[in-house]
Amino acid sequence: MSFRLLTILPDYVQIVTLVALVVLSVRLISKRGHAIPAVYLTFILSLWLLTDLYWGIYDFMRPDSRMPFAANEIGEAAVFLLEGAMLVSLARGWKDYTCPQAIGALIFAACNVALWIAWAGEWVDDLFVGAAFAVFLYQAARALAVHQSLASWEWGLLGAGCGLLILGQGLTFFVPEAAKAALDTACYGLLAVVTVWWAVKVIFALRKNADGVSLLCLVFAWLAWVVAAKYMSAGAWYAVFMICETLCLPLLYGAARKAVTA
């Protein structure tokens, strides 16, 4: 029972957080008039809230059963597309810009989708959500590259981390059970380390009073990583990454507010 509480409580905390943020983002639209990013933010948070509610209600009514393809998958895909669109709406002169990092992000997204399919076998759901997730990752990587939010050695480390993660998760399908457990633990460790690294980057940007758009790019990148980590996890780790995701949400609102009011 306590373990079940551990896994459902973060969902309810996120719902409460999202309710508050939806109200704030609606107020942001009315205050700022024609603020396109604020409209996108309201869309994103509202859909995220409904998706979480759907999942929460499902989990309450039908615990321990796997959800079939449903409206919340479409909601999740829409959230990813809107996040990409919000980044593009803040773009200044990089609408047609493509960089190696963005291609790398697409490859990482494709590997993630392949892993989801291998784990769950839900082709339709995973391809549908995965395509939207790839769009989000692509835009997030482009935004980071244009705003030079990461140094080249940081890009290198991030790329190596992503590669190791995919390799580690891929190997779990082929190695014996004991090695699989060790590999899983190593992958969770890597996911957690990179999550903390993104958090440090965001905190440093906050302390240096970075401009709203640069901050938003970093928060989106952190969010993208946490979402990928959440989808790769199960049990307590899933709850941990969900809490990290909830922590990203007020930062997302704060960064969007800063970008809109600038």
């Binding site: 859909l47 409904l50 449903a70 409206a71 829409a78």
Partner: protein, 209 residues
């Protein structure tokens, strides 16, 4: 087993005739009401196909797939109208309410024929819950599109966002009422509550014009 096509023909003929005598907004509303009924029938066909093709079972299809299919069916004529004619907000809301009302009415009639008309209480709950829910979901969808257009944020992503807003609302309703008890009570109250909230949002949007 009911023959929904026959019901649709019987309901549509007088409405089609009425179109000849009506003008302006009244004609637009009746036309959209008819489109809503047709969308309901097509939605039932598609849901039936998905049920047969996926083997999910009638109940799971009704709970999980129908919201997706039905909202998409309501969305298509509205999207066509929105993109081809670029109507003003009021005409768009009029069309949305017409399609939602037509959809809900046809679904309610088919449900009454199938389950009987003896219990007024049950029928009232159905009318106030499902009936309002279809209007609310399509209205929320159009509100999303109108807001996106007004703030020049109309892209594929916001269009998909508006559609998924209605799908999620419909899905939450279907999920809540799928089991008896407190969840179904909340489910039956949800459309009326949301209708009130949407009314307030619309008033605020009109004040802001």
């Amino acid at each position: 087993m009911i023959f929904s096509e026959n019901v649709l023909v019987c309901m549509a003929v007088p409405l089609l005739l009425a179109l000849v005598f009506l003008r302006d907004n009244a004609r637009q509303f009746v036309l959209n009401f008819l489109l809503g009924m047709a969308a309901c029938l097509l939605g039932a066909y598609v849901s039936g196909f998905v049920d047969a093709a996926s083997g999910m079972g009638v109940e799971d299809t009704a709970i999980f797939i129908s919201p997706v299919v039905e909202e998409a069916m309501k969305f298509l004529p509205l999207l066509f109208y929105f993109l081809m004619f670029d109507p003003d907000d009021d005409h768009l809301f009029l069309s949305a309410v017409g399609i939602g009302a037509g959809f809900a009415s046809f679904e309610n009639i088919c449900s009454m024929i199938a389950s009987g008309t003896e219990r007024l209480g049950f029928l009232l709950i159905r009318g106030l819950a499902v009936g309002v829910m279809h209007i609310v979901s399509v209205f929320a969808m159009i509100l999303g599109l109108v807001v996106a257009r007004r703030f020049k944020a109309l892209r594929l992503s916001s269009t998909v966002g508006a559609l998924s807003l209605s799908m999620l609302f419909h899905g939450i309703y279907n999920l809540l009422v799928s089991q008896p008890g407190i969840t179904s009570v909340i489910g039956y109250g949800l459309p009326l509550l949301t209708a009130g909230l949407l009314f307030l949002a619309l008033r605020r949007l009109r004040v802001g014009e």
